[in-house]
Symmetry: C2
Subunit: 297 residues, 2 copies
């Protein structure tokens, strides 16, 4: 990991904490439990990969950091909501996330459902609000892009397919690729797209960033499956090896660990190549592709 | 119920079914279960009160019915999502809604969580999309208004307070009023507001419709509590008398049934008075205030 990349990543993490504290609601009324749980979930740490993508893609076009941070906060809220709901007992039933008790363990299930609902709704309030961006056409475009990526033909569809995956008789790499493109790829792609929308990118630039995000997202997921198989629960901050215990197919179970590793490396290299039109302005995004496959958690 | 009002209400119900069928996703992929459950929940009937408010308020300003119908569909999706999540075992634990099995009974809990998430997200995609309204400033404003009404300082806060209401030592009418204004009032108010936003209403007209919605919403909720106490589960299409069984305070438990009835009547009359600036153009909205307190389900 280059020093410059390391510095950029930790600046992103710190800025996100500050930004999330600005946008999250506070109250001392009877609803304070909800607001506390929202803070608990959204500020529990995490790599802030999606936020980093928004910031870096926006910076390719000279977008102000404060605008990009607000949009990045909205995406992190959507990502957090999806984790809170995924962790519920009726879904993946996870007790630990990022080394901490999940929301339904720390609070209760009803609070976890409502916390997810509130985080998702707040994300759209933020994206629609004029405070970060004067042009309403850009705000409306961001709302639509985010809703498409997160909704019934994006992330939620991916989660639905994932839940049904235990029943798939002969899972193959196509099945898993589509599942992951919906479940995690769509939100990673829209993080790049959001930077491009803020920056009024040309069609050509859009396509380059989309191709980058596509390959990066798949590489990320393959590495997730590898780390899950290798199984260091402490480093991961969550339970590991759950997919194979449940008989769910993963990239590792279908490709084998060596081919999975080769595939991830190839995708990361390919992702970086898509950034050539941006020359050295995209160096941090190239570093990210490398980081994604070398990470240990 | 006047013949004209009856005709307008049933035209609204029919148009909503058509509109929802247009906006809801279809697929034959592995995510079809999610899409089916979205149709099941959104097309299960209901009074379409919120849709009616959007249509009637928009028509005060000569907004095209097709634009108003699209926004009304988005609000009905948000209302439906809130019911699907409220019915979950960890929330109000209801098995029957509108005379049919609730989503988690018909499908399962995980599908119900995801169906609610998908309906909520789709609503924002619809509101942001240019197909119903060319001016992005109006679309962005609708997104923000809706998110505020539905989110952590609106409907979700109301639901959180409601869940904690069993523990309130001495509930009073102020507590219940605030709870209901958040839980049901906010979405009723934003339905009127949405019509006004579409119609580029003046500040004065906004305030009049807001005052109408405020009183109408409270009257609606008081009547809900009365119907729940009188308890005809068949007419209501859902379990009744649950609040008092759980020791939750309601307008009836705090005011007594006679004062509750008087209060609802007074609020409905007051609601109608706020519409005077619109003269006879608002007759159907006045009829609605009357309908709300005379309904049997």
């Amino acid at each position: 990991m280059s020093l410059r990349f390391e510095a950029a990543l930790s600046a992103c993490t710190e800025d996100m904490v500050r930004e999330l504290e600005i946008v999250l609601p506070n109250s001392d009324g009877a609803e304070s439990r909800l607001h506390e749980a929202m803070h608990y979930a959204a500020l529990a740490g995490g790599k802030r990969l999606r936020a980093f993508l928004v910031l870096q893609c926006a910076s390719l076009f000279g977008v102000s950091r404060s605008s990009a941070l607000r949009v990045a906060a909205a995406i992190e809220l959507i990502h957090t909501y999806s984790l809170v709901h995924d962790d519920l007992p009726c879904m993946d039933d996870d007790d630990v996330r990022r080394g901490q008790p999940t929301v339904h363990i720390k609070y209760d299930q009803a609070t976890a459902v409502l916390t997810g609902d509130a985080l998702l709704t707040l994300a759209f309030e933020i994206l629609g609000d004029e405070s970060y961006q004067a042009d309403p056409a850009i705000r409306a475009r961001l709302v639509v892009a985010m809703a498409k990526a997160a909704g019934p033909q994006g992330m939620v569809a991916g989660q639905m397919i994932d839940l049904a995956s235990e029943d798939v008789a002969e899972p193959n790499v196509q099945h898993i690729t589509r599942l992951q493109q919906l479940k995690t790829g769509a939100l990673i792609a829209v993080s790049c797209e959001a930077g491009a929308i803020l920056g009024r990118a040309s069609e050509h630039q859009f396509l380059a960033l989309h191709a980058y995000a596509h390959d990066l997202g798949l590489a990320f997921q393959i590495v997730d499956d590898i780390l899950d198989t290798e199984g260091d629960a402490e480093a991961m901050g969550k339970a590991v090896n759950k997919d194979s215990e449940r008989g769910k197919a993963t990239f590792v179970s279908v490709l084998g660990i060596e081919r999975a590793r080769t595939q991830a490396r190839m995708l990361a290299d390919q992702a970086a190549k898509h950034l050539e039109p941006f020359a050295e302005k995209a160096d941090l995004l190239k570093d990210l592709a490398n980081f994604v496959i070398e990470r240990r958690n």
